[in-house]
Symmetry: C2
Subunit: 207 residues, 2 copies
DNA sequence: TTCAATACATACCAACTAGTCTGTTTAATT
DNA sequence: AATTAAACAGACTAGTTGGTATGTATTGAA
C-alpha cells in the first residue's frame, strides 16, 4: 500500500553519485540533489534519514558492483585455470576491455571518500578498505597460482604486487580526471598486463 | 612599515593544506582554519581575498615544490646520462628513497582538487593538468633517450608509458590513504622500476 | 615624533546548510 | 467505499557559511 518508492530511491542514488563526482561530498548539498532529481525534501528524508545515510548507501552499492565486476572477470577466466599466468593476464584484459572506449574519465567513489575522510563515519570508510582488501586477496591468490609454475625475474613482495592493480586503477582515474581528456585506465592496465607478462618466467623442471 | 605578515601567510598555507587532506576543500571552513592557526578573520582575508584565492595559492606552491623535486631528481641522475636506462631507473629510485619510511600515508593536492572539480576555477585546475603534463614531457624524454639504445620487449605507447609514473604515484596515495596504514608509494614505485627494467632490452648492433 | 602603510581584530550579515514538522496524496487491502 | 500505511510535499528553523565593514595595533621612514 502506498505508491512505489523504488524509482525515487534509485534516482536519488544515481544523481547523487553524479553530483559527488563533480562537487565532492561536502560540496554537494541536499538542495542540489533535490533540484537534479526533481523531488522534494520530504521525499529525500523519507528515504535517507541523514546525508550520512546517503553516503553509506552509495558506497555500499558501489562496492557491491565493484566486487561483482571482479567476480565476473574471475568467472570468465576460469577456463584458463590450467595456465595460471594466462589466466592472470586475461583477468586484467577483461578490465582493459571494460574500460576501453570510455569517452569520459571514470570517477571512483573510493577516492572521493578517501580525500575527505572526516566527512564519513568509520563504518563507511571501513567498507572501502575492506573492498580494497578483497581485491588484494583475490589478486594475491591469482599471483600465488602463477608462482606454482613460474618464478619471477625480479624478487617481489607478493602483497604489494597484489595491491598494484588497484593502485593503477585509482591512479589512472585521478590522472584521467585531472587531464579532462578521455579515460586512460585501459592504457595503464595494459602496462600492468605487460609487467605481469615480463615478470614471470616458467620454472625449469629438472627431469 | 607595518609588521611582517609572512609567518601568518605561511601558517595559513600550512594548516590549510593539512585541513584539506582531512576534510577536502568544501569540507574545510575558514573558521576551522582560524581555529587551527589561532589567527582571526581579519588576518585571513587580509592575506587571501577569497577562499578560492587560498585554493589557488595552495596549488601553486604545491605544484612548484613538486616540479622542484622532479628537477632535483633529474639533476641527481645527470651523471648517468651515458646509460639512459640506468638513469631512468635511478630517477625512479630517487623517489623510492624519498617516499621510503613515511609513517603516514602521503596525500596529494592534485587528487584533492580533482575529486571536487566544481569548487575551483579553470585557472586553478589548469595548473594541475599542466604540472602533470610537465611530468609527462620529462618522462617521455627520459624514455626516448632509453629508446636510442634499447628496444622494448613489448610494443608500447610512449606517452602512456610516460604518464604511468604519475598514475602510480596517485594510485599509491589513494590506496595508502584508504587503507589507513603506512604509505605504500615506495613499494609501488619499485614495481614501476621493475617494469622499466624488464621492458627494455639493449639493441643488437649489427657490426 | 609624527606619519602612513601594513597587518591584524571583531562585530556583523545575507545566503545557505542539514534536518524537522505537519500535512497531503497514492494505492493496495478489507 | 472506507481504511491504512507508504510515499511524498513544502514551509520552517537553528546553526553555519563565506565575506564585509570598520576600527586598532605595529613598525619603519620622514
Amino acid at each position: 500500500m502506498g505508491r512505489d518508492g523504488k524509482p525515487t530511491y534509485d534516482k536519488i542514488l544515481a544523481e547523487s553519485k553524479a553530483l559527488l563526482f563533480e562537487n565532492g561530498f561536502s560540496g554537494t548539498s541536499i538542495d542540489q540533489i533535490l533540484q537534479r532529481t526533481g523531488i522534494t525534501k520530504g521525499a529525500f528524508f523519507y528515504h535517507f534519514k541523514t546525508k550520512s545515510a546517503l553516503a553509506k548507501a552509495l558506497i555500499e552499492e558501489y562496492a557491491k558492483e565493484d566486487i561483482l565486476h571482479m567476480n565476473e572477470a574471475l568467472k570468465k577466466t576460469k577456463y584458463l585455470e590450467g595456465d595460471a599466468l594466462e589466466r592472470l593476464l586475461q583477468f586484467i584484459q577483461e578490465f582493459v576491455d571494460m574500460m576501453s572506449g570510455l569517452s569520459e574519465p571514470y570517477s571512483c567513489l573510493y577516492a572521493t571518500y578517501t580525500y575527505e575522510p572526516s566527512q564519513f563515519d568509520e563504518e563507511t570508510l571501513r567498507h572501502i578498505s575492506e573492498t580494497i582488501l578483497t581485491w588484494r586477496n583475490t589478486m594475491e591468490q591469482l599471483i600465488r597460482d602463477v608462482l606454482q609454475d613460474y618464478d619471477t625475474k625480479i624478487e617481489i613482495d607478493i602483497q604489494s604486487l597484489a595491491d598494484h592493480t588497484v593502485v593503477i586503477f585509482e591512479g589512472a582515474f585521478v590522472v584521467s580526471k585531472a587531464l579532462k581528456g578521455r579515460d586512460l585506465t585501459a592504457d595503464h592496465l595494459k602496462h600492468l598486463k605487460n609487467y605481469f607478462q615480463l615478470l614471470f618466467i616458467r620454472k625449469t623442471t629438472k627431469d
